[in-house]
């Protein structure tokens, strides 16, 4: 199934892209998607545990199962204010 991944701030710079479409297996948990990305992006591989994840613009735990068409983002440490 196909999902859309958004990259922001330091993660955008580390991955070299702000957005991508990707095919993943049915029932892939969001935490496993991070492991897939970490094989490609050296900065991501340095994380012992996945950073906070959002699916369809809401925080979700890493075990959350992805659905076709989901918008997924892993969030670098936020620094608003």
């Amino acid at each position: 199934m196909r999902i859309r991944i958004l990259h922001f701030a330091s993660f955008r710079e580390a991955s070299g892209r702000d957005e991508e479409q990707r095919e993943v297996a049915e029932r892939t948990p969001v935490g496993d998607l991070w492991k897939i990305l970490a094989r490609e992006v050296p900065l991501f591989a340095r994380f012992a545990t996945p950073p906070p994840a959002a699916v369809n613009r809401e925080y979700v735990p890493p075990e959350t199962v992805l659905q076709e068409g989901d918008e997924v983002a892993f969030l670098p440490p936020v620094a608003g204010g």
């Binding site: 958004l6 922001f8 670098p76 620094a79 608003g80």
Partner: protein, 136 residues
């Protein structure tokens, strides 16, 4: 819309917030001229816009339950900011100052903790860094 690419208009925000309520607490976050001892020449704020809007709405919804007598307005700037410019403004109006201060404080603390906004500090020597509050 809580995010804005143009300067936050504090007078307009105060006009909108003004109530015959009794208390109005205004917090304004301003771009500092240094960070951890290093001089800063400016800051770029970047947001996951649609999620930031949704997350601020969720925070305000939950604060409405915690502080039912308080009305809270939020503005957050994105883009390139100069030293001294307002990056965030929160106005809380309530019948009494206690709950206005408390709700305003809770709003900025929660905004900083969960709203997907990032900032890159630019230094006079031409270098720049993404700010990571978890490392401070």
């Amino acid at each position: 819309m809580y995010l804005t690419a143009s300067a936050i208009d504090l007078s307009a925000l105060l006009l909108e917030a003004r109530a015959s309520d009794g208390a109005l607490c205004l917090f304004v976050g301003v771009v500092r001229n240094e960070s951890g001892g290093r001089p800063t020449s400016g800051i770029r704020y970047e947001a996951y816009g649609p999620m930031a809007e949704a997350e601020i709405a969720r925070i305000l919804e939950s604060l409405a339950t915690a502080f039912p007598a308080v009305r809270i307005l939020v503005r957050h700037r994105v883009g390139d900011l100069k030293i001294g410019e307002a990056s965030v403004a929160i106005a809380a109006t309530a019948p009494h100052r206690g709950e206005a201060f408390a709700a305003c404080r809770a709003a900025i603390d929660r905004l900083k903790a969960t709203v997907p906004i990032w900032k890159k500090e630019h230094h006079p020597d031409g270098t720049s860094d993404w700010v990571d509050p978890t490392r401070k």
